[in-house]
């Protein structure tokens, strides 16, 4: 297999391979971002049931719905396909990246408490109030019992989530890691994002990749093309950006096999 120009090799035992990728950007057909990412425009969060089915979706917030959609696509599931049951798989870790998922809820709860008192809030919102709800819900939904992280370091959090995923693999804390990045675009999230990037509006988006140790794979993967380094497939995607970049890069680079990202690729481009 010939490597694309400008790539460096690392020992396969140290390298992390991307063995699955998906994108879910409402209103955008995934194929417009990269081949094989979806032929029709992705559903907005309030239509997520068309992909996920209705069961269990009712009280999920926007960011969580988009994340679930991205992972549903990553797994190659048909729309409405039933979810895996049975005991959780302890060998699969989940690392999510999301910064603005609960800011609207936090603002609404505060307003409700101040205007009407605490008895007026709904206890059903309790899971959504915790910032790690995206990561824990993905694990609960798809029955993954390995390490579970929510990374929230601002614009860079998607790249940091990928780095944490790679770390978990190299530390042998998991056999595979699902990294999912997402952001909602509700009014509060949009307003907060505008404080930081007034030139680029916040964009609701989600993407997911599956990472595995390259040395565990039965055949030698291709190396990731570096031509796409530094591009932002969907401007304004905040915490979803890093994972979206990797998913789109993989889609554009892959020729039928898993795509490898060397440690230098991840860290050179991301940092």
């Amino acid at each position: 297999m010939t490597a694309a120009s400008g790539q460096r090799r690392t020992p396969d035992g140290d390298a992390v391979a991307i063995t699955g990728w998906s994108a879910h950007v409402p209103g955008v057909a995934g194929d417009d971002l990269g081949p094989g990412l979806g032929s029709t425009p992705a559903e907005p969060a309030d239509q997520a049931h068309r992909l996920l089915g209705r069961k269990g979706l009712r009280y999920r917030d926007e960011a969580t719905r988009l994340a679930l959609c991205a992972v549903h696509r990553l797994l190659g599931l048909e729309p409405g396909a039933p979810r895996r049951k049975g005991p959780p798989n302890a060998d699969t870790a989940v690392v999510a990246s999301c910064n603005l998922g609960n800011v609207q809820l936090v603002r609404e709860l505060t307003r409700t408490v101040r205007e009407s008192g605490g008895h007026a809030v709904s206890a059903l919102e309790a899971p959504n109030a915790s910032s790690n709800v995206v990561a824990s819900t993905v694990a609960l939904w798809f029955r993954w019992g390995g390490p579970n992280f929510l990374i929230c370091s601002g614009d860079r959090s998607g790249f940091d989530a990928l780095a944490v995923g790679a770390l978990l693999l190299r530390a042998h804390r998991a056999e595979e890691v699902i990294v999912v990045g997402c952001e909602p675009a509700d009014p509060v999230a949009t307003e907060m994002h505008a404080r930081h990037r007034p030139d680029i509006p916040l964009r609701a988006a989600a993407a997911a990749v599956r990472l595995q140790r390259a040395g565990d794979l039965p055949r030698r993967p291709f190396l990731l093309s570096q031509d796409l380094s530094g591009t932002e497939p969907v401007p304004g995607a905040c915490g979803a950006s890093g994972v979206l970049w990797l998913a789109v890069s993989a889609a554009r680079s892959a020729r039928g096999g898993p795509v490898i990202a060397t440690d230098e690729t991840l860290f050179e481009v991301c940092r």
Partner: protein
């Protein structure tokens, strides 16, 4: 490979690490009237507050930076000479700033204000990178795991492990919504436990490759086991907890009967305490370590909780004393086989400690810490 603990600095409602430990040994609690939000609006009346002035934004950042500054000074290494990183665990981030914007009509913060990385890079310019994990009440334990892995894999030589959390009206509203009668204090493992109360606090440790130690370390982090229940959104799962415990021991190459003290998560909620007691009983059937818990003394400090327990564990080792579970009067039946320390401190040698941290969403971290030889 275990990592050496070069320094540890904490802030709780009771003060620094020394003051906090002494108060816990003496059975004192730092609980007082709730000072977050508008009195009477929430079904919560008490809290374990750091009394440092008004309820302004970014106090969690201030406490974290204070602890980091102290820990870095205590560590005695030149950070500029080493690959240095920071990993911060937090449950609530700086969401309080979003809430205060509602209260006083000030502009909403930027997403970059919600995490602590900018502040940390400014305070510690030698940092190569910072990772922020918002993994609810076990975020501190998760941060410890990442820090050790970074050093083990040669990605960093020195890591500052931080944890910090204040309170938010939104989280308090949830606590108030699921409690019938507001709790007056936290009573871990007590039959009449009234529920959880939040505590404000931060912590920072400096951990490093053991070969770098300039002098005897405070102790060693042997391993952290991580798991996700993937069973229920809020309730604990016995199997998930057992997996985290089991993983900690297998990664450390130790066995449960070597443990001298367990710093339990012990939130004093209806669900946590019986399940945790069952898990401890099941995983150490032949051992009888002392079991204690800090939340009766300092409240539930969320992201900093595991690191507060770790600091206390180091002091147990240094002083050969285990503080009682503050607030415990009548232990629950599920804890009948456990040697819960109550009423008075227990004086026994402590070399190996287990620290439990279980978070919302079923995220579990169990850490094993050993005394410096």
């Amino acid at each position: 490979m275990s990592v050496a603990i070069l320094a540890s600095s904490v802030r709780t409602c009771l003060g620094d690490g020394e003051r906090t430990f002494r108060a816990a040994v003496e059975g004192r609690a730092g609980v007082g009237q709730l000072r977050c939000g508008i009195p009477g609006r929430l079904n919560v009346r008490a809290g374990y507050h750091i009394l440092d002035g008004d309820q302004r934004a970014f106090r969690a950042t201030d406490w974290l930076l204070a602890c980091v500054g102290e820990a870095v000074a205590e560590a005695g290494v030149q950070l500029a000479d080493h690959r240095t990183a920071a990993v911060v665990g937090t449950g609530l981030r700086e969401l309080r700033a979003v809430e205060l914007a509602v209260a006083d009509g000030s502009p909403v913060p930027s997403p970059e204000d919600l995490h602590f990385e900018t502040a940390l890079h400014e305070a510690v310019p030698e940092l190569d990178f910072v990772l922020t994990a918002s993994t609810a009440c076990s975020a501190g334990g998760h941060a410890l795991a990442l820090a050790q892995d970074l050093i083990d894999l040669g990605r960093a030589e020195v890591v500052i492990v931080g944890g910090t959390d204040g309170m938010t009206e939104s989280m308090l509203s949830m606590i108030g919504r699921v409690t019938e009668t507001p709790a007056d204090r936290v009573r871990p493992f007590d039959q009449q436990r009234p529920g959880v109360l939040l505590g404000e606090g931060a912590a920072a440790l400096v951990v490093a490759d053991p070969r770098l130690c300039p002098r005897a370390p405070l102790g060693h982090v042997l391993a952290t086991g991580l798991s996700c229940d993937a069973q229920h959104e809020t309730a604990l799962d016995l199997d998930g907890i057992r997996r985290a415990i089991s993983q900690a021991f297998s990664r450390a190459g130790r066995s449960p009967d070597e443990v001298d003290v367990v710093l339990a998560h012990g939130t004093g909620t209806a669900l946590n305490d019986p399940v945790e007691a069952e898990a401890l009983t099941a995983t150490m059937p032949d051992a009888e370590p002392a079991v204690t818990a800090l939340k009766g003394a300092i409240g539930h400090t969320s992201g900093a909780s595991a690191l507060h327990s770790l600091d206390a564990a180091l002091r147990c080792m240094r002083n050969d004393v285990v503080p009682p579970v503050v607030g415990l009067r009548d232990p629950i039946p599920e804890a009948r086989s456990l040697r819960l320390v109550r009423d008075a401190p227990s004086r026994n040698p402590v070399r190996l400690a287990q620290i439990d941290a279980f978070g919302f969403g079923g995220v579990n971290a169990v850490t094993l810490v050993e005394a410096a030889s």
